[in-house]
Homo-oligomer: 383 residues x 4
């Protein structure tokens, strides 16, 4: 008989962590996944409390992720995948451990801090045929998928320019602050020991890179970047020129000190026959302009929405879907692929329409390239 | 020891029903409620399949709601509340049954078809001290709560005019259609036997009524309405003048034949010192204009958002919350009140910040008044 | 030889009057009209000063409009038309005087205070074959003309509902004010002796009436209105139900106490196949939605703009045209008709695409109907 | 006695030229300037026809601009300034001629093609104390002036980043076109002999440079640019990194192949305490966000608008002012300065609030720097 329910574990995500609950709630949109094991926190009481909260049996609340990987891999009812939601610097070791125990992985972005580590994880995952998702959330939005499809089908012609930005304001008070105040404001995000060589580009610049790449199918050939640090240990503001493999140009901006912008990811793709514009803060709409015609405002959930965007539609048009639904779409697709694999079914390209390990590797390379270019006075850095 | 988990049942909501899943997903945002009993469909196999899908024990998948009320009320681990999501005409009988078995109720709107029935249900619920929620979703949005608070605190002065509309387009093809095509398009929504005297006003006009009432604290004194039927059995379009108990004027429009509008609920409240505007399709923003000042665009999740809107915030600003979160907010508050009651704690006014049986009664009266006025050539009808 | 230049006179419009300059600047967009006579103010020194400012010969700066009509009508180089920009109550006498001297007239709206007077003026103008324009400015916007054309051509099907509003905030402080303060705020606009039976409906409600009528070609059959006076001598806020001659419904709101709205005229026309939406404050765009398609944002000056909207285009798309251009469009068309008439050419329907005396009469009837309905507790008043 | 009327001449601007009429109409907003001389076209009959159209005496319709400069300079009633609206490449010679005859100049942008020429013109103008305006129109918008004032007063703190773009679509068909089709599409704009080293940056990129410089008071220190030619003789698309003299970063994009954008100039200035955003296509609004507060939408013509923006206000708020008014504001200020100078009055800084010769020089330098950087593979070019 076919399996219809999936069991998963979580590393990180104790009750006082934000992102753990986001993953949990996103998964909750689908009813066929059950949290059955976890190693939520290095703090023992937090760990237990979280396990208790999620009704886990105590023997599956692990104090150590290595023990978890080891023991789970030996169970008959072992977890089908693990969800890694710890701070960036620990991803590599944890992810590797689970992969080596043949457990599928969902990992928060960015994948890790070093290109070599990223490539190693990719190699392991591919060799062992494991399903690996990296939660670049924004590719999960239906209208991003609709944009991708419209571009793929040639509606806007050949892409010639991409203008993308991701602007936030939450770290504005770090300008002029001393180290301790900055640390208080930013948590571990400004700590090079945890996040590596970049804060802003690593945290949100990579979302631009991934979303544009997903939408357009283009790969970045080289970047010329200028980073602003405002006397802080890591970057808070970045502007960069981009050149894609098809010769198209681009300009990306990301900032955590852009007052007036809460989470302003905006992607504009210009082609020889039209353009497409998507704004994360109004995610249910998509502006599509074909040459010589009025701009058209596509609306999620309507009859002219097709393909993946239609498949992943949850509620009728005009009833706003938001960030959680995008997250849930990543999981829905991933869970579907897991189930098919468990049940010995063939996976199609569509089944794999979630950000994969390759996307994780590209993200790490992108961060490296941007920081290197900035270090060399904005000289082009070839990726 | 205090209870921390709630058990609930559902009447209606089989797998092929839309609204059942919406309730389920909305409840899923909170982790402390568990579906443990149901009577999902009069179709036996649908009923069983749904129970199975939700992992219910077969003895708690009931073929008859009366049996369910009876048996559940006798269990020690009985459901703490039942969620009634059947078509309108059946609400009265079902809700009454559970109330008479002292089971708390969450009911879809509108409450029922007749004012006398609504008053009866209210009487029973109040006499027995039961917690009753009616899912007027839109009052669950954080920014609607922020608007309510700003108005309550006097920021826009005395309310003098309300301009509200709820425009949809999904029934446009019913214009010029024969009965069978209309039925196919509209499901049971255009069937007087199921929905009573009104389609459009009953389905969405009541949302205007409830949301305005919640936001402003005003009660409607009388209405003068014009309904358009387009040769269909029930109304598809409605415009009405409104007079509130404080002397303020209002104008409400609702339509299911307004091409270009998916789910366009917009509320604008004008006062002597300012105005407030909220649009359901962009629910994370609120436009507030104080006399002599620039309009201010309030953004969910920011530091200046306070009170209930802040308490119910789930994710950081700029990460769109949508329809599900609004729904979940109604449940979150309701579940909190249930838990407190179970645990013998006192309920505060804040604990009851969800649409209650009184709102349900107001809704039924509103529908009746509007239809009566329209029947009398738009003569004012005093509520 | 054909005449190519037009001479005109002005009654009212002294230097400290706002509307005089608006007319002057609007006419200035065309180079073929020259102000050659005037009776600008009953204040002698204002009158002279204004004449001087406009470089008029002193013998054509008249102290009395009757003298002006008389003397001009006898000159060989007499004015081709007169522009009447005095307060409402004086329109009737002044306009009549010029018409009776066979001088074409452009008059500010509303035409006059009494229906009988309006009909009389219409009769005189038509009998004498004079060209009469009433400056309902908003029909001059290119995108309003584009909307009219799209509706005329059947793009949105049969009109079934119109939702229109004209919201301003400039008289908000009159709420709670005594008579003298109100007078100070509102100038003559709240003085029944000057404006007649209505302030708000007369001043801006008529703009709704005219613009909707122009756009849709529909005539109002009856209205049911509620006016709010806030203890002032005339109305400041109005909501009304409308029924058109084709059976369509409508709802109009106008207000001068709607904080947050400077000059918010918005017209939304819903048909069986689509809808059209135009906002005066963003006049270069038009939102057009056809059933089953994304909303299209039409942009002034683009290749798909056709007919009158294209003819009246002045500058390339994206370079905003505004209120003055709309005004100038009314004049441009009127001046064209004047010249053709002078030169003995036939006038086409297109030549007469400006608001005419009939529009003026409709406006006066509309004001009367609205005020009458409101006096009768919002009973329908048949126009 | 004081002069109150100004006489001016025009070089270029024959009837079939677009920009001539724009200048004429813009000047027409003020009543104290009169066109009295011209050399409108090298085509004799066009020249005469235009002179005739503008009612000029034939002896002041010159066939040669040198003759015009010479003869006008000798008249007692000579023109007070000349308006030069010929294609770019001819500006230098023409402007120089008039300056050397001590005639004030208004010149279309860009000033000329070579930095050395620009410096020379500046030197002559300054030495002779002539009033020189260059029509960078966008600094004429009231809300741009309001933005400038808010920034100057420190409301948004120290500027740390500028994100500006000017996107158009009108040359999209030049991609893939041969030379003759491109020439047909673009007129002389793509002809290096007429416009010099740049099309897109020269035509619209300089508007970004000037408007940002005006708004912020910042000077560009260096640029790193990438230009796209699409096999055409000159650039059609440009992206660039910018560094300002105060250390702030910036990113500028301009394009004539951005489908969906008619004339999309958008300036966003981010500071340590807030941000300001202005969009040319909706020029009557300004978005101002102060740290920790909701975004405020400033509206032209309201009571909180102050300083120059208030002085230059023409019509009440909500009645859209557009491109012409911005243009007219440049002229109004310039004409005021001319009159004061004629009448021997002292000029204040406010009197000189129009783009001057220095702005023209900056523009030429900017174009050169951008093109040079692009030629050197986007290496920073210090201005």
């Amino acid at each position: 008989m076919k399996r219809s329910t999936i069991h998963y574990g979580m590393v990180g995500g104790s009750l006082n962590s934000f992102i753990g609950k986001v993953h949990k709630n996103a998964i909750n949109f689908e009813i066929n996944a059950k949290l059955t094991a976890g190693c939520f926190s290095s703090n023992k009481s937090n760990n237990l409390e979280t396990g208790n909260y999620y009704n886990l049996p105590t023997d599956r609340v692990y104090t150590d992720y290595k023990e978890m990987a080891e023991k789970e891999s030996q169970r008959k009812d072992k977890i089908d995948f693990v969800c890694v939601v710890t701070p960036n610097s620990s991803h590599y070791e944890i992810v590797k451990e689970f992969l080596l125990h043949d457990i599928n992985v969902v990992c928060e972005k960015p994948l890790c801090s070093e290109i070599s580590q990223a490539e190693e994880l990719k190699k392991i995952a591919l060799e062992r045929g494991l399903l690996f998702a990296i939660t670049y959330t924004y590719s999960g939005y239906g209208m991003v998928k609709q944009a991708k499809q419209l571009i793929e089908e040639g509606n806007i012609g050949k892409v010639i320019n991409v203008n993308a930005e991701y602007l936030q304001e939450w770290l504005i008070d770090s300008i002029g602050s001393d180290a301790s105040k900055t640390a208080k404001l930013s948590g571990w995000r400004m700590d090079p020991d945890v996040v590596g060589i970049s804060n802003c580009v690593g945290d949100i610049g990579t979302h631009i890179e991934n979303t544009v790449s997903y939408m357009t199918g283009l790969k970045i050939k080289r970047v010329a970047a200028k980073l602003d640090y405002f006397n802080q240990p890591l970057d808070l503001n970045a502007n960069m020129l981009v050149e894609f493999d098809n010769g198209a140009s681009g300009v990306y901006s990301c900032s955590q000190v852009a007052v007036g912008y809460a989470n302003g990811l905006t992607i504009r793709v210009f082609g020889t026959k039209g353009s497409i514009e998507w704004r994360q803060e109004q995610p249910n709409q998509l502006k599509v302009t074909l040459k010589g015609q009025p701009s058209a405002i596509y609306e999620r959930g309507t009859g002219y929405i097709t393909g993946r965007a239609a498949q992943l539609n949850r509620i009728p048009s005009g009833h706003p879907e938001g960030y959680y639904e995008a997250f849930a779409n990543v999981y829905k697709t991933y869970l579907g692929a897991i189930l098919k694999t468990i049940n010995g079914e063939e996976l199609t390209a569509e089944d794999l329409d979630f950000p994969q390990i390759e996307d994780g590797v590209e993200g790490v390379k992108f961060i490296f390239a941007v920081v290197e270019s900035a270090r060399n006075d904005s000289e082009w850095f070839v990726i």
